[in-house]
Amino acid sequence: MNIVVCVKQVPDTATERKLRSDDKTLDRDAADGVINELCEYAVEEALLLKEAHGGEVTVLTMGPDKASDTIRKALAMGADKAVHLVDDALHGSDALGTSHAMAQALKKIGFDLVILGSESTDARTGVLAAMLAERLGVPQLTFAKKVEVGKGTITVQRVTDYGYDKVEASLPAVVSVVEKINEPRYPSFKGIMAAKKKPVEKLGVADAGIDASQVGLANSWSEVVDFAAAPPRAAGTIVKDEGDGGAKAAEFLASKKFV
């Protein structure tokens, strides 16, 4: 089974993250780039499926040159090879543009299964899995907390507000995972050394058959008009106990979907 894991490099959540004042895109020089946390779970799941069913795991990343650090990390964990979509023309792509570019790359690579994180920690649109599945014309199984692969089929437990749904589809398919799914491994020192020798193919817009008029900042359907620093935390809600304090507290928790 050939699995492609989509891995995104994001600014370290532990450092201060900024947008650029000139074109209102992410300031990638302002913070250390790290692997998006949920993408580690995606890589782990791909490796577990490979260990159980054989095949090959390919990492796909779209991002600037320095995203190659993130590719190395995924390769050190055990992925076999990588494709790095890198081209100045891709800078500033929105979710639609990104999904077009990545779908083209995925068609070129070929796959039985595509695995993504369910959300990134920077843009957090959480839509990429759905957009990719749509563009590739294959089923989408999102928010998976458990994945099982059978003969030409895939079954997942899809996390919902009330528990989980059991969803089944035929392969090829696109899956996005949540952190409940597994415990990502640390790369081993040998894995780190081996990763240096694994093949990483760099693809530009033309190589991947990407339509240049659908990607980049200028061609984005959505536009960041303005932005501001997040306001400091608002004061909490105080429940005054007038005999019905317990009920009010429970109501509040229920409204936030905690209970």
Binding site: R185, Y186, P187, S188, F189, K190, G191, I192, M193
Partner: protein, 380 residues
């Protein structure tokens, strides 16, 4: 801990990044609670093993990582800064593998090392006995050769990982010829006749089990013998030369953790309207701590480079162990002083560092014994 390290190869930086990641996420966060509870963190060693850290200075052909001591020891230092029980545990494990790696036959190395270095097994080193500590050559545990191997009787004392190890590297007497009557053996933990007592109740490093290990008619195959009969004491001392550098690295790690904690505190805490760090009296204390620490690190790295270059290094190893562990005792004591009353309670880690430092002046040759080694070299 964020020490700027000069490392000999680019791959060593990758290794150090991996180690810092592991220390930050898997080691340091649980140190304090596990030490209070006296819990041995076997899973942490499994995690380190899977990351490939349990065979760093040994050849790749047997599952090691072929790292020079200069790099291996800095890994120990980082781990010990996070948690001494783990840094010292890794050092003792590496020490326990040395006799097979350096004195085992080709067959023994091929048979034993892949598992010993592979990450799933943990080793222990059995030299000391209740009545034979500094005078190690006075040991009385006996291995009697019979037709189909050896029968071992005796008691080993103070054994790190006693009761939790998967294999024991044992020094036992095969003849009455003093130091020349000692031999070295590889003993799997499951060997019938091998048992361990309850762990000692220690002042610090409580998560690292230290226990007596008994041998009651334990039967060993002839292939358990490492090197020649009578070569055991020489093997034990050669192993300790490397082990002492491991202890020196542990001392530097613990001292670094103490300095970091003391410095951070002195920048926050205000008295008489100023930060503590702005009182010259206190900043001079910190300056001395930092200087002694840097000197100790330079000393153990110098000895390590001599070893990596294939030069004799036993005397430098003794100097590094002596200087680094005395430094660690002083620096951790001063760190408690910097925090005042807050340094004396478990809410801050420095009292733990001070308790941990003490053991480093005792293990793998007391600091008196290190002076003996250095003095003898001068007298030669």
């Amino acid at each position: 801990m964020s020490v700027e390290r000069v490392l000999p190869r680019p791959e060593a930086h990758d290794l150090m990044d991996l180690v810092r990641d592991l220390v930050g996420k898997e080691v340091a966060p649980r140190a304090s609670a596990d030490e209070s509870a006296g819990r041995f963190p076997r899973e942490v060693f499994t995690t380190l093993g899977r990351a490939g850290l349990l065979g760093l200075p040994y050849p790749e052909e047997h599952g090691g990582a072929a790292q020079p001591y200069e790099v291996y020891l800095q890994v120990i230092e980082e781990l010990a800064a996070g948690w001494l029980a783990v840094g010292l545990g890794l050092s003792v494990h590496t020490l326990s593998c040395f006799p097979v790696a350096a004195y085992g036959s080709a067959a023994q190395r091929a048979e034993l090392l892949p598992d010993m270095l592979g990450g799933e097994l943990l080793g222990a080193y059995c030299l000391s006995e209740p009545h034979s500590g500094s005078d190690a050559a006075a040991l009385t545990t006996r291995a009697v050769r019979g037709e189909d191997g050896y029968t071992v009787d005796g008691v080993k004392a103070w054994i790190t990982h006693g009761g939790v190890a998967d294999f024991y590297t044992l020094m036992a007497r095969t003849s009455d010829d003093g130091a020349r009557g000692i031999s070295c053996f590889h003993v799997p933990a499951a060997t019938p006749g091998l048992s361990s007592a309850a762990p000692e109740k220690k002042m610090g490093m409580r998560s690292s089990p230290t226990a007596q290990v008994r041998f009651d008619g334990a039967r060993l195959a002839p292939e358990a013998l490492l090197g020649a009969e009578g070569e055991g004491f020489r093997i034990a001392m050669a192993a300790l030369d490397g082990g002492r550098l491991g202890i020196a690295a542990c001392a530097v790690g613990v001292a670094q953790a103490a300095l970091d904690a003391a410095t951070a505190y002195a920048k926050e805490r205000r008295q008489f309207g100023s930060r503590l760090v702005d009182f010259q009296g206190l900043s001079f204390l910190l300056a001395d701590m930092a200087t002694q620490l840097a000197a100790a690190r330079a000393l153990y790295l110098d000895a390590a480079r001599a070893r990596d270059a294939g030069r004799p290094y036993g005397t430098q190893a003794a100097m590094a162990k002596l200087f680094a562990t005395d430094m660690c005792m002083k620096v951790t004591t001063d760190a408690v002083q910097v925090l005042g009353g807050y340094g004396y309670v478990e809410d801050f880690p420095v009292e733990r560092y001070m308790r941990e430092a003490k053991v480093l002046q005792i293990v793998e040759g007391t600091n008196q014994v290190q002076r003996l080694v250095i003095g003898r070299a001068l007298a030669r």
